[in-house]
Subunit: 410 residues, 2 copies
Amino acid sequence: MAKADIPATREDCEARDRDDPLAAVRGEFALPDGVIYLDGHSLGPATHAALERVQTTAHEEWARGLIRSWNDAGWFELPRTVGAKLARLIGAGPDEVIVTDSVSVNLFKLATAALPLARGRAIIVEDSEFPTDQYVAEGIASLTGADLLRVSSGEGANALARTGGVLMKSVVNYRTSLVEDIAGAEAIAANAGGVIVWDLSHATGVLDLQLNAHGAKLATGCTYKFLNGGPGAPSFVYARADVAMQMQSPVSGWFGHAEPFAFDASYRPLEGVGRFASGTPGVLSLSALDSALAVFDGISMGDVAAKARALGDLVAARTTALGLESISPLDSFRRGGHVSVRHPEGYAVTQALITRGIIPDFRAPDAIRFGVAPPYVRFVDVWDAMDQLADILATRAWDRPEYMRRSTVT
Amino acid sequence: MAKADIPATREDCEARDRDDPLAAVRGEFALPDGVIYLDGHSLGPATHAALERVQTTAHEEWARGLIRSWNDAGWFELPRTVGAKLARLIGAGPDEVIVTDSVSVNLFKLATAALPLARGRAIIVEDSEFPTDQYVAEGIASLTGADLLRVSSGEGANALARTGGVLMKSVVNYRTSLVEDIAGAEAIAANAGGVIVWDLSHATGVLDLQLNAHGAKLATGCTYKFLNGGPGAPSFVYARADVAMQMQSPVSGWFGHAEPFAFDASYRPLEGVGRFASGTPGVLSLSALDSALAVFDGISMGDVAAKARALGDLVAARTTALGLESISPLDSFRRGGHVSVRHPEGYAVTQALITRGIIPDFRAPDAIRFGVAPPYVRFVDVWDAMDQLADILATRAWDRPEYMRRSTVT
């Protein structure tokens, strides 16, 4: 990270925005006026294409087409066709990704199905992991009798080396934004006879992921963050072709059957990752996601990742100048698409920012997370947001009763 | 079933439609012109309210409200608020139903979590059961080591009496429309120490279900059929309050946690049925469903069920007169919201009907299913559809190459 590359003035930011190879993409988003949106790591904004697609799916395909749209509008194919579009963004083959269920359900299916492939019957999860990953690990251990190994942050791969088993691990930590080394961890797993299920929720759409090249076998992730699929948009499953063929999904629903409409008495799984589908797919959400992915057509994930690094460097430099401690790596190559900084009254500071139209988010106990989604966040946006943050801190504008933490967090 | 009640002329049908207590509800549906829709048992049509809600959720709540809508638009509450609306339709308490995941995933969660409650470690499923139920039963047996007992049609409760275990059973059979006696089966289960997981997919929104009164403990079902929630709308889970408290969902995701945003390290399930939630809910689909349920506001499920019986009787009478064999019960109290009749060229007959704007559906090998959803199907609709069917059979209009079965069924 060359410090010289970090804009030092608003004019520098304008210049960077002019030179941005992704500049044109911002126009695809239906961003509200007067808002600087730095929460794409939690819920990505709507694109015009996604909004139009929702309209078309509801009014044309559902209301007019009715049942015929399962065939005529390609509803049946959506889990696979959307999966194929997503595959390019994570360095997977087009037949290695499907869109189905939620991250929680997919973590359950993949980790449970991975147990028989691993030497050692253990589920490993780090204590800094996103809560649902930890809870799902607990549930699998309780159901299957596998040992639950809850290890400290960063110790997952080492534990895998010792005991084998299945490690559930985020590529980008939801709180710190720290990036895990996929290739390094997979090398350890290969030596240990262990299997890693990657959670790409905070990584997809912001890093230049190369799952195949880096040896990743199994992954899931969410599509409503940096992929802008919409609130609660379905999750995806990646399973490397050769690995999928050895696996049996515990949730063997009809959409994972080789011929769901043959109405066979016995389950016969689809070839490859398709076997991790289960029930009837949510067509409205899948359609919105399908169109939202058009943002990434014709742009390079290398450019996306480079801009995320540069925007994150700007957040880091300016918050450091304000005396805020970053809990995110300062080395931009070890950081995902958000930068988290600590403030003892972080909740109130976040509320004060929101009042001024700057939307980051907050994670207890004291982390303000600034998301820098490359397709729509500009350098000037970060600059202006940091100006507001500086003013709020200088004037203690956060110190108002209505900004104080509510008794229940929702 | 008094035969005298069956309309004998189109004028009789018009009179019945005038007297129909549900007549006004039909106006809430956005039905396309020139179509008689008899496939509500597969995909319910859109209501104006649902279409408007999708628009509002996408354009206002998502695009403008962004992350704030999780609180401000009540997104967090949707699984429970929609569940509470649905509870009235199935005779459950408002806190005993949540909307989450798909039927396949919910069958998996409920039946797996029910195993420890049952005497005997077996999963029982009938060979006439909907495929996904059979496949999920297979998957659970394979995962947990429980015995899989696949018994013949109608033998589920008898098997439960012999072996205990967990029976997965549809209240309305997808093919024959035969209604199961919930209270009778629950009495057998109680004696045997067995547990029944009811699949209400083809029953909800068309029968006057009384789950609490009839002793049902656990159920799931789909919302895109007679509840008109939209293509792939999420499923619901019913768990009687006292039963839920004894159960542990195998898929312990963060939305089933007592305080998902406390980010506790350990899983602590919600009180009651809420513990069967798992991942982030699909807001677009849940919102559409929420508004779609307005159809049932202020109408009696007794009236709904009575009209379904009467419409079904009309289908049965006219198809019998055409010499078609019904595989659905002729006793309307033993029949759900569709009537299935056999024809050796059923697929081609169905295609010929669709060409004329009559939309039933077909299930291999030879069943034409006519769905009679009370909120929008009129007596005259059934009459006119049967006239077309009569003409198609009399003229062999189905006997055209383009109506013949395709080599792959989708």
